[in-house]
Structure formats: structure tokens, C-alpha cells
């Protein structure tokens, strides 16, 4: 029944070759082993139906496959499903464990052993363990697990050779419990492998379905047996634990407690702002977008195209005009987006590698609960300030559909992406504190109000936070760079066609006069309701193409300060750029995406108009601004109170770990 073992990715396996699979909890240093085993030549392929990539490479005759870091193999999330399928198809599993965290890590180890596959364990970060006063008896661990255990310090290269040389010594280990062994033997008689038998017993629906069986009801019993076994092993192999709070432990605590955690977060965001908002967005993008792409690449392409096609023709316009597929799209993706996305991913990978991210999730959990999200949603929300399109894709990590709906809508509505943020910040800078406060308060209140309303209107209940807080570690440069590269690359690969389609659509809309019609249609709203000049409609329409175009269009209009704020609020809340909209349609169903798009449009004009009318009630801009600020804070407070009153207990599910 070979088809049962397929792990959905096509890998050419040489004859006689075996599949060696690397497995472990998140951040245990698997990638170092992967690089050591495979060397330079590594292939990466997307795992179907997910954003996750699987790396694989050659090790002699064999193939080494990396898996996402997981705490166990079941069907709780994409990472687990992939790890599960790849591990079930393995000939040998190299399991990397963190010597400091054996209680957590050995659960996966024992689960892999229970699948019956030959295993070899790399007891990694043994130096860290020693420093923390933990002594692990590797020989005893080997004896108790029944598989070879090798001590390693992967980042320093210690033990890597021994792991390489010992791969052939991998062997099936000792099953968690004799009772489980009986269950396995019985189930194994009906399916192809012990691994599948185990997962069916543990209630994995897909594996059971493959065999036309009902998923088993034994997960909890088996998990408890395994936990008991692991605790027993850990109790035997670990000694001399000296409890003491070192600096890292204290720092980790400071990151979570609001009184210290918020200043730390602000400091981190400030560093990010200086690095990405100032250095990358201005200096680097200045070179990549203006000098290289617009200064050299675009004229070159236009010259090339003009030899074949008339640039003034429809085709010429689509290819190399204002929104040209070969000009604007390429400039936008490579000149503007790529440096920003790389910058954001550098920080995110460093945060992830250091263990800061789960602490940030714990810190922000309370706040995000109010809008129906949990702390994990902080990741897409922060990424949204880089690129809303990117962040929309990343919402896949959220635990439930309603959380994705809320997060995606908030991203589309109220988070200005870095391209737009640059222009907005420039326009706000000249206006002074009161106007700035008005802008920020209105945007944040709208986000809070909309989030709270969505949370009380959408059916179901959001998932609660339940995450592991891994030890803090200095991020490893290699790891951070590698993650940044793979993530940036796979995003750009996914997004570029969308930007191209978006540019194409806009060109066609422009050529057919649709854009002009929209401008005329919007004119009464802009003039009558928002009190802006008629030309502002052009800026809004441009905002559909690229949000920064929209904002930039406003700065050309020479508006008075209050009109500038009204226009900026409207354009910030206005629909996301066309690529983000396309992602929206791809990620959610058509109806939902259309509702979000129209909702964003309506709210933008509604809020812009309200701000205009409220501030217009006062002769002085300053009094008008403060009045409006209080109204919006009041509205947000009122929404929160009303939502709390009507809240009824409902059945809930829980967030995925990690």
C-alpha cells in the first residue's frame, strides 16, 4: 500500500536510497543538522495547500528531509500535518532534542518511537544544559528510549560528525507502554504500518479515512501513558538541577509583564522603525526603487518594448504604461516591496529565534482578546505595517476561521502598509501634535470599534492562547538569514503574479474609462460629505492601485490641515491595494471578500465624513479636534461596554500551540 505513505511532495529518491527525516520541537537547532548532512545543495518545495516549504537534500545515497518544528504529530495545524506525513514516510528519523527542555521534547521523541520507525536522537544544546546546572545521563537515556543518543552542540559543530556516522545505527525504540503495544499490534494487522496504526488510534481523522476506518478514541489515554513514560525517563536521566533565576529567565519575565513588557515592546518597535521605516524605506528603497528600477530598469524595458509595440497603443500601455505589468509591477515588487519584506522578516525571524515572539503574544493577548483575537494575532498585525498583502497570507497561522476574518478585515481596513505609512508620516509631520493625535485616535478607535463589533456579531468563539514559552536565546545569524531568505522568497513568489494581475486590471480599467467613471461617481462624496476638492477622488482611485499612490496624490492637492487629516483618515481606512484585495479573494470566499471590500470602502467614507462634520462644528480646528477625539474614544468605550453586556457563554475551541 505504497500510496498510503506518500507525503504529497515529489522527491526523487535514488535507488536503494532511504528517506532520512529530521524532526524536533521548534527552535531546537534542526537546521544546523540539516545543513551539516546535506551540504550546499538543497531543494525547497512548497507543501501543497500550505505556505510551508519543505527543504530536502542529498546525504550520500539517501535523501534528508527537514520538517517544521512541532511538539507532537497529530492534525492540530499545518505544521503538524506535514511533520506527521513526512515522518510516517521516513525510513530513519533523526530527532533533535533540546537538552534543557527534555520534558517537552521527549514527548515528540516518544511519539516518533511509538510509530515504530528507526530513530536516532541528537541531544542538542548540551552546553546550555551544563551552564544551567542540568546534568543529563545520555547513556541512561539511550538505554531507556532504546535508540542511540548522541550529545551535540550543533552551532559549534560538536557531535555532528558522530551523528552522521551513526545514522545507520538508528533503530526502533521502546514503546511507551505495554498496553499501547497491544493496541498497536491489533490495529497494525489492519493497516500498512505501525505509524499509521498509532495515528489512527490517536484519532487522526485523515489517516483513518485513508484506510476507511473510524478514527480511534484513544488519544488521551495514549498521550497520558506517553507523558507518564516521559516524566519517568526525565526523572531518571536528569540530575543536579539547580534552580535559580538567571538573567535570561528574568528578562523573559520582564517581556511578559506589562509594566516592563510595554517599554521593551516600544523599544523594539522603535528599533524596527529606525531600521525599516527610516533606513530601508528611505535610503535602501531610494536606491532600489528610484535609482535602479525607475532610473535604469524602466527606461531600458520601455526602450526594448518600443521596438516591438507602440508604447501609446493599448498593449504598450498595459505592458509599459503608468501601471505597466513589466514596468510598475516589477519596480513595485523588486524595488519597493522586496527590501521592506526582507527587513520585516529579518526582525520577525530574529524575534522568533530568540523566543521573544511567544512572549509578545502573551503580553498583547489581553488587548487582542477585546477584538476577538488572541496574542498570536500580533504577528500578522505587525507584519501589516510592512505589507498588508503579506500579513493577510500570514493570518493562516490563526486558530479559527473567525479570527482570520477579524484579522484580515482589520488589516484591510485600518493598518497602513509601509509604503503608505511613509507618505502619511510625511504629511502628518508638518501639522503638529493635535492633528497627529486626532489621526491616531480615530484610526485606533475605528479598529477597536470594528474589531469589537465583529467579535460580537460573528458566530462562534475565538480560540484562547495556549503557548509554550521557550527559553530566551541569542538569535543565530545563520538561522535568521536562512529564514528571512526562504520566507521573503516564497512570499514574493506568491505575490508577484497578484501584483501583475492587479496592474493589468487597473490598466484595463483605465483604458476602458472605468477609473474615470469611478472618479466622477465619487466626486459628490468627496466634495459634499468630506469637504475635499473634487480632485481628491483621483487620489482615492489611485489608492486602489497602490495605497501609497493614493496618499501621495493627496499631498499634491495643497489641502488645509483639517482637510489633510480628513483625507488621510479616509485614505488609511480606504480599501487595500489591489494585490491585497486579490489575496483577500484568494484566502476567503468571494462573498466574504466582497463584503470586506465594500465594508472597508463604506467605513472609510463614513468615518472621514463624521470627522469632517464633527470638527466643522467648531470655529477653531484645535477645539474641533479634541471634541472629535473624545467622541471617538467615547464611541470605542461604549461599544466595548455594550459588547460585554450582550456576551453570552458559548462553546469554544482552543488555539494551536507554538
Amino acid at each position: 500500500m505504497a500510496h498510503c505513505h506518500e507525503s504529497n511532495i515529489k522527491i526523487d529518491l535514488p535507488e536503494h536510497g532511504r528517506k532520512i527525516v529530521l524532526a524536533g520541537n521548534p527552535n531546537v537547532g534542526k537546521s544546523v543538522f540539516f545543513n551539516a548532512l546535506t551540504g550546499m545543495y538543497v531543494d525547497v518545495s512548497n507543501y501543497p495547500g500550505t505556505t510551508l516549504d519543505i527543504s530536502y537534500g542529498r546525504f550520500g545515497e539517501d535523501i534528508v528531509i527537514d520538517t517544521p518544528g512541532v511538539y507532537g504529530i497529530s492534525s492540530f495545524n499545518d505544521e503538524e500535518r506535514i511533520a506527521r506525513d513526512v515522518i510516517l514516510s521516513a525510513d530513519i528519523v533523526v530527532n533533535v532534542v533540546d537538552a534543557v527542555h527534555l520534558e517537552r521534547d521527549l514527548f515528540l521523541t516518544q511519539q516518533i518511537i511509538d510509530t515504530g520507525v528507526p530513530v536516532i536522537v541528537a541531544l542538542n544544546m548540551i552546553d546550555d544544559a551544563k551552564r544551567q546546572g542540568i546534568k543529563v545521563d545520555a547513556d541512561l537515556l539511550e538505554h531507556l528510549l532504546g535508540v542511540p543518543v548522541i550529545e551535540t552542540v550543533a552551532v559549534q559543530g560538536i557531535g555532528l560528525e558522530e551523528v552522521k556516522n551513526s545514522i545507520n545505527k538508528a533503530k526502533p525504540g521502546i514503546i511507551s507502554h505495554s498496553e499501547l503495544q497491544q493496541l498497536l499490534t491489533k490495529m497494525h494487522a489492519r493497516v500498512a504500518s505501525q505509524g499509521e496504526a498509532l495515528l489512527i488510534l490517536e484519532g487522526a481523522p485523515i489517516i483513518a479515512e485513508r484506510h476507511g476506518l473510524k478514527p480511534g478514541q484513544h488519544r488521551e489515554d495514549i498521550y497520558l501513558m506517553r507523558r507518564q513514560r516521559v516524566n519517568d525517563i526525565v526523572g531518571h536521566v536528569i540530575s543536579e538541577v539547580k534552580e535559580g533565576t538567571d538573567f535570561k529567565t528574568r528578562l523573559g519575565r520582564w517581556m511578559i509583564t506589562p509594566i516592563t513588557g510595554i517599554p521593551i515592546l516600544i523599544a523594539m518597535l522603535y528599533i524596527m522603525y529606525q531600521a525599516i521605516g527610516v533606513f530601508v524605506a528611505q535610503t535602501v528603497v531610494g536606491i532600489t526603487e528610484e535609482t535602479i528600477m525607475q532610473g535604469m530598469y524602466e527606461p531600458f524595458i520601455r526602450g526594448l518594448i518600443s521596438k516591438v509595440v507602440d508604447l501609446d497603443s493599448a498593449l504598450g500601455y498595459i505592458l509599459a504604461g503608468e501601471f505597466g505589468v513589466l514596468t510598475m509591477t516589477v519596480t513595485y515588487v523588486l524595488g519597493l516591496l522586496m527590501p521592506l519584506v526582507v527587513g520585516f522578516y529579518l526582525f520577525l525571524s530574529a524575534f522568533e529565534d530568540s523566543g521573544y515572539l511567544p512572549r509578545l503574544a502573551a503580553l498583547t493577548d489581553r488587548l487582542l482578546n477585546k477584538v476577538g483575537l488572541n496574542g498570536r494575532a500580533i504577528i500578522p498585525l505587525i507584519l501589516g505595517f510592512g505589507c498588508v498583502t503579506l500579513a493577510t497570507v500570514v493570518t493562516r497561522l490563526l486558530g479559527s476561521v473567525r479570527e482570520r476574518q477579524i484579522a484580515i478585515f482589520l488589516l484591510a481596513l485600518a493598518i497602513p502598509c509601509s509604503a503608505q505609512l511613509g507618505v502619511i508620516a510625511g504629511m502628518l509631520a508638518g501639522l503638529g501634535g493635535t492633528y497627529l493625535a486626532l489621526y491616531v485616535v480615530v484610526i485606533v478607535s475605528v479598529m477597536a470599534i470594528v474589531g469589537t463589533l465583529l467579535n460580537s456579531v460573528l458566530p462562534g468563539k475565538s480560540t484562547d492562547l495556549l503557548i509554550d514559552l521557550p527559553p530566551l536565546r541569542l538569535p543565530r545569524i545563520n538561522n535568521v538569514l536562512k529564514k528571512t531568505f526562504t520566507k521573503s522568497f516564497s512570499f514574493l513568489k506568491e505575490a508577484t503574479p497578484l501584483f501583475a494581475i492587479g496592474a493589468l486590471l487597473i490598466s484595463v480599467m483605465d483604458l476602458t474609462g472605468f477609473l474615470g467613471a469611478v472618479q466622477n461617481f465619487l466626486a459628490p462624496i468627496t466634495v459634499g460629505w468630506l469637504n475635499l476638492p473634487k480632485e481628491a477622488a483621483t487620489a482615492f482611485v489611485m489608492g486602489i492601485v497602490r495605497r501609497d499612490f493614493g496618499a501621495a496624490g493627496l499631498s499634491d492637492l495643497a489641502l488645509d490641515p483639517m482637510s489633510t487629516i480628513v483625507a488621510l483618515i479616509t485614505i488609511t481606512l480606504f480599501v487595500p491595494c489591489i494585490a491585497a484585495i486579490l489575496v483577500l479573494f484568494k484566502e476567503r470566499n468571494k462573498k466574504e471578500a466582497a463584503i470586506m471590500w465594500l465594508g472597508s470602502l463604506t467605513i472609510a467614507f463614513l468615518v472621514g465624513g463624521i470627522v469632517n462634520k464633527l470638527t466643522g462644528m467648531f470655529a477653531s480646528d484645535v477645539s474641533g479636534s479634541w471634541f472629535t477625539i473624545f467622541v471617538f474614544i467615547g464611541l470605542a468605550g461604549l461599544t466595548s461596554v455594550v459588547a460585554k453586556m450582550k456576551k453570552t457563554p458559548q462553546v469554544k475551541t482552543v488555539s494551536q500551540e507554538g
Binding site: R227, V230, D365, R366
Partner: protein, 72 residues
């Protein structure tokens, strides 16, 4: 009592966890029903940080209100 009502620094025994998937994940982390753990940090109306040996987990407030514990 409920986990949400535990005090900082208190040692508690976990009596029951409501949801099947949460229970499975809690077992993986070694902080499950029957375990004795320390309530290491309480973020006001926010997550509870539980610790057992070197394993730490953050439990959201909503979930902490559904987990039954007793002081040890």
C-alpha cells in the same frame, strides 16, 4: 478554584481542563490534569504563566477561567 483566581507564586494542582484539544496540548507540554505546577506570573486580566521545572506555558485568560485547580 479557577486557574484565573490563582495567585502569583502559588503552587497549584491542575484538576480539570475543559476542552479535549487543550488537554492533548497540555499533556504534550507536561502541564496537564493531575500535575503540580507553579503559577509563575499573572498578567492582570491577561494570560497566566504556568511553570513546571523548566517548562513554561502561557494560558489565555478565557481558558484560565475554565481550568479547575486547587492550592497545594
Amino acid at each position: 478554584m479557577l486557574l484565573a483566581d490563582a495567585k502569583k507564586g502559588q503552587t497549584i494542582k491542575i484538576l480539570s481542563i475543559p476542552n479535549e484539544i487543550v488537554r492533548a496540548q497540555a499533556i504534550r507540554f507536561g502541564i496537564s490534569e493531575g500535575e503540580v505546577v507553579t503559577c509563575d506570573e499573572l498578567i492582570p486580566a491577561g494570560p497566566v504563566i504556568l511553570k513546571k521545572n523548566r517548562q513554561e506555558i502561557a494560558v489565555g485568560h478565557g481558558l484560565a477561567k475554565e481550568i479547575l485547580v486547587e492550592a497545594v
